[in-house]
C-alpha cells in the first residue's frame, strides 16, 4: 500500500444538491451555517453564516480573515470535529455528515493550532498514532492492538517527508516549536490522507521554521497531490504559498480567488478596516502586504 493513494476515487454516493463533478472537488461546501451556543439564537451569533465554496483536489487553499471571523471554526467543520447547524459539506462527493468519523480520518488529517502534550511520548510513537484510523476493523485491535511493520514503514516515510527521522526516539516534550509542528504534521501524514487541514501552521515559529513548514506543504502538494487547506493570519505567507485564498469577514465569504484578486488594498480595507501598502513580491510577483509607516496626528495634520 502506498502512502498517498490516488486522490481521484470513484465516488459512489453524492450529497444532496451537489454537482456531478464531485471527484475533482476535494470539498463542496453549500450554505454552511454554524454557531457555538445553540440557545443564543440572535442573528449576530452565527460564527459562519451561509458559506458556499469548493476546494479543488490538489490545491492549497488559504483561509484568511480578521480575528473571530470564523477561520478555525470553518477548518474544524471541514475536519468534522465540529458539526454544522445547517448546510452541506461533501468530501470527494460524499456527504461528510453521514460519513463515519473514522472514514473521514482516513481521508482528512487535521493539525490543530495548539498541540499540548504533557506525557513523554517519543516522536515515533506520536507519528504512529496517526495510524489509528486504519486499525478500526476489529474491536480489540482498535483499542489495544500494536502497529504492524507496514505502519512503521508509513510512519518512517512521514517522518522523512517532514525531516524528522533523526528525532524519532526523542520525547515530544523536548522538541522545539518548529520540530513539534513538524511532528504533528508527520502524525497527520501517517494517516495517509488526501486532504491536510492546518490551523495556523506557522504561528509562534521563527522565520527559518516558517519557511521550512511552507516548503514541506508545497512539496506535499507537488509530489503527492495532497489537497491542503490552511488557516493563517499571515497574509504574505498565504499570498506566496497558496493557490487560492478565501477571505472571511464576520463568518461570511468576502472574496475567493488567486492571491492577485484577494490580496488587494480595497479588499483589505473593507475586511480589516485599515489601510496597508500593497506591492509585488520581488521573485514571484504575488501581492505583498506592508504595514504603513506610523504617522502621528500632527504629521497627518501637516499632510492635510
Amino acid at each position: 500500500m502506498s502512502l498517498f493513494p490516488e486522490h481521484a476515487h470513484s465516488m459512489i454516493d453524492k450529497a444532496p444538491g451537489l454537482g456531478a463533478v464531485a471527484s475533482r472537488r476535494a470539498y463542496q461546501v453549500r450554505s454552511l451555517r454554524f454557531h457555538y451556543h445553540p440557545l443564543n439564537r440572535g442573528a449576530a451569533s452565527w460564527v459562519l453564516d451561509g458559506l458556499t465554496f469548493d476546494v479543488d483536489a490538489g490545491e492549497i487553499l488559504g483561509i484568511v480573515g480578521p480575528n473571530g471571523s470564523g477561520k478555525t471554526s470553518l477548518l474544524k467543520l471541514l475536519a468534522k470535529v465540529l458539526r454544522p447547524h445547517a448546510g452541506d459539506i461533501a468530501l470527494f462527493g460524499r456527504d461528510l455528515g453521514t460519513m463515519p468519523q473514522v472514514e473521514v480520518a482516513r481521508t482528512v488529517a487535521f493539525v490543530p493550532q495548539e498541540n499540548p502534550q504533557v506525557f513523554s511520548f517519543t516522536v515515533m510513537e506520536t507519528v504512529l498514532l496517526g495510524r489509528y484510523p486504519h486499525h478500526h476493523g476489529a474491536k480489540w485491535s482498535a483499542g489495544f492492538g500494536w502497529e504492524s511493520a507496514e505502519d512503521v514503514l508509513i510512519a518512517e516515510q512521514a517522518m522523512q517527508s517532514t525531516d524528522l527521522t533523526h528525532l524519532a526516539g526523542r520525547s515530544v516534550m523536548e522538541l522545539s516549536g518548529g520540530e513539534r509542528q513538524r511532528c504533528m504534521m508527520a502524525r497527520a501524514l501517517a494517516q495517509a490522507p488526501q486532504v491536510l487541514l492546518l490551523d495556523e501552521p506557522t504561528a509562534f515559529l521563527d522565520l527559518q521554521h516558517q519557511i521550512e513548514i511552507c516548503a514541506i506543504v508545497r512539496r506535499l502538494k507537488e509530489e503527492r497531490g495532497l489537497t491542503v487547506v490552511l488557516v493563517s493570519h499571515d497574509l504574505n505567507l498565504a499570498s506566496q504559498y497558496c493557490d487560492r485564498i478565501l477571505m472571511l469577514k464576520a463568518g461570511a465569504l468576502f472574496r475567493l480567488g488567486p492571491p492577485q484578486e484577494v490580496i488587494d488594498a480595497d479588499v483589505l480595507r473593507a475586511v480589516y478596516g485599515c489601510d496597508v501598502l500593497i506591492d509585488r513580491h520581488p521573485e514571484s510577483g504575488v501581492p505583498r502586504v506592508t504595514m504603513p509607516q506610523y504617522r502621528s496626528a500632527k504629521n497627518l495634520g501637516d499632510r492635510l
Binding site: 499540548p116 506525557f119 511520548f121 494517516q191
Partner: protein
C-alpha cells in the same frame, strides 16, 4: 511484562515471610503444599502458623496487591483523560467521594460490617462518580482543564467531603465509629476468600476493560480535537473510562479506605522507566502498583510490631513529598 509478573510473585512470597511472626519460605511452601493436598485450612491440620499464613497474611497480601494495582491503573487513566500528570483518585477527591458514599451506607446500616461485600462498593461508586463529575465541572473552562484549577477543585472537594465524613462518623455509635475511622485512614484487613474472589473478579474485569481502551487513551493525549479528527468517539471513551474509574475506585475504597498517592507515584515512575504508551504503561503500572502497596503494607504491619500503622499513612508519607517535588519541578519546567 512477563518479567513484571515473575517479580510480583517473588515479591508476594518475600512479603509473606514478614509479620508479627516470621514465617520462612520453606515453611510457607510446606504449608501451602499441605493445604493443597488436604484441602482444608483448619488449625488442627496446619497449626497456628498455618492459620496465620493462610487465613490472615495471604489474603491480606493478595488484597493489597489488588488494591495497589487498581489505584495505580485508575491513576494512569485519569491522568491520560485529564491530560494532567498530577491527577490521582485521592488528590481529585474521587476517593473521598467514594468514602463518603460508603460511610453514609454504614451509618444507615446498609452494610453490616466495614469490609462486607454488599452494596458498599456501589455506594462508593456513586460517591466517586459524583465527585469526578463535580471536579470536572468545576475545573473545566472553555473546553480546557487547567492543571491548577483541577488540583484546586480536588482540594476543595476533599475538604468538603472530609467534613461530611467526619460528621457522619461523629454521629455513629462509638464502636462503629472507631472501626470506620481506622478503615478511612486506609487499612488492609484480611478478607474471607469468597469475598476476595468476588472482589478480584470485579476489579480484574474492570482493569481488563480499561486496558482495552489503551490505544484510544494514547490518541486522546493529543488533545480532544485531534483525537476526534483521528476517528475516536471521544465522548464515548471518556464516559466509559470515567465510569470504570469510579467503579473501581468505589470498590477499592469500600474495602481498604482512602489510600492516597499510589495512583500518582506509580504511573510517574513507570512512565519514566518504560515510556508513555498506555498499552505498556497500564498493565505495568498495575503490576508495580500492586507490588508497591504490598511493600507499603508489609512496612505498615512490621514497623511497630505488634501494633499496625494504617497503610494509607505509609503511602501518604511516601507520596506526599513526591507530589510536592513534582509540583515544584513542573513549575520550573512549564510556568
Amino acid at each position: 511484562m512477563a518479567l513484571l509478573v515473575v517479580m510480583s510473585v517473588a515479591l508476594l512470597l518475600i512479603c509473606l515471610q514478614f509479620g508479627t511472626q516470621w514465617i520462612g519460605l520453606s515453611q510457607i511452601i510446606d504449608i501451602v503444599g499441605q493445604v493443597l493436598r488436604e484441602g482444608t485450612v483448619e488449625s488442627d491440620h496446619i497449626g497456628t502458623t498455618g492459620v496465620i499464613l493462610i487465613q490472615v497474611r495471604l489474603p491480606r497480601v493478595l488484597l493489597g496487591f489488588l488494591v495497589g494495582a487498581c489505584l495505580a491503573s485508575v491513576g494512569v487513566v485519569l491522568q491520560a483523560l485529564l491530560r494532567n500528570p498530577l491527577a490521582d483518585p485521592y488528590v481529585l477527591g474521587v476517593s473521598s467521594g467514594a468514602a463518603l458514599g460508603v460511610a453514609l451506607a454504614i451509618l444507615l446500616g446498609v452494610g453490616t460490617t466495614v469490609v462486607a461485600f454488599s452494596v458498599l462498593p456501589l455506594c462508593g461508586f456513586a460517591g466517586g462518580l459524583l465527585s469526578l463529575v463535580v471536579v470536572y465541572r468545576m475545573a473545566v473552562s472553555y473546553g480546557r482543564l487547567p492543571i491548577h484549577a483541577l488540583l484546586l477543585a480536588g482540594v476543595i472537594l476533599n475538604a468538603i467531603f472530609s467534613a461530611m465524613i467526619m460528621f457522619v462518623t461523629s454521629i455513629m455509635e462509638p464502636n462503629r465509629s472507631v472501626g470506620t475511622m481506622t478503615w478511612l485512614m486506609g487499612t488492609l484487613t484480611a478478607p474471607s476468600y469468597p469475598a476476595l474472589a468476588i472482589l478480584a473478579c470485579y476489579l480484574l474485569g474492570g482493569l481488563f476493560l480499561l486496558v482495552k481502551q489503551a490505544r484510544r487513551l494514547n490518541v486522546l493525549t493529543l488533545g480532544e480535537e485531534s483525537a476526534r479528527s483521528l476517528g475516536i468517539d471521544t465522548e464515548h471513551v471518556k464516559r466509559v473510562v470515567y465510569v470504570l474509574s469510579a467503579l473501581i475506585t468505589g470498590a477499592v475504597v469500600s474495602v481498604s479506605g482512602m489510600i492516597g498517592f499510589v495512583g500518582m507515584v506509580i504511573p510517574h515512575a513507570v512512565r519514566f522507566l518504560l515510556g508513555a504508551d498506555h498499552r505498556l504503561l497500564l498493565p505495568a503500572s498495575a503490576c508495580i502498583g500492586g507490588m508497591y502497596l504490598v511493600i507499603a503494607d508489609t512496612l505498615a504491619r512490621t514497623l511497630l510490631t505488634p501494633a499496625e500503622i494504617p497503610v494509607g499513612i505509609v503511602t501518604a508519607l511516601a507520596g506526599g513529598p513526591f507530589f510536592i517535588y513534582l509540583l515544584m519541578w513542573r513549575k520550573e519546567r512549564f510556568a
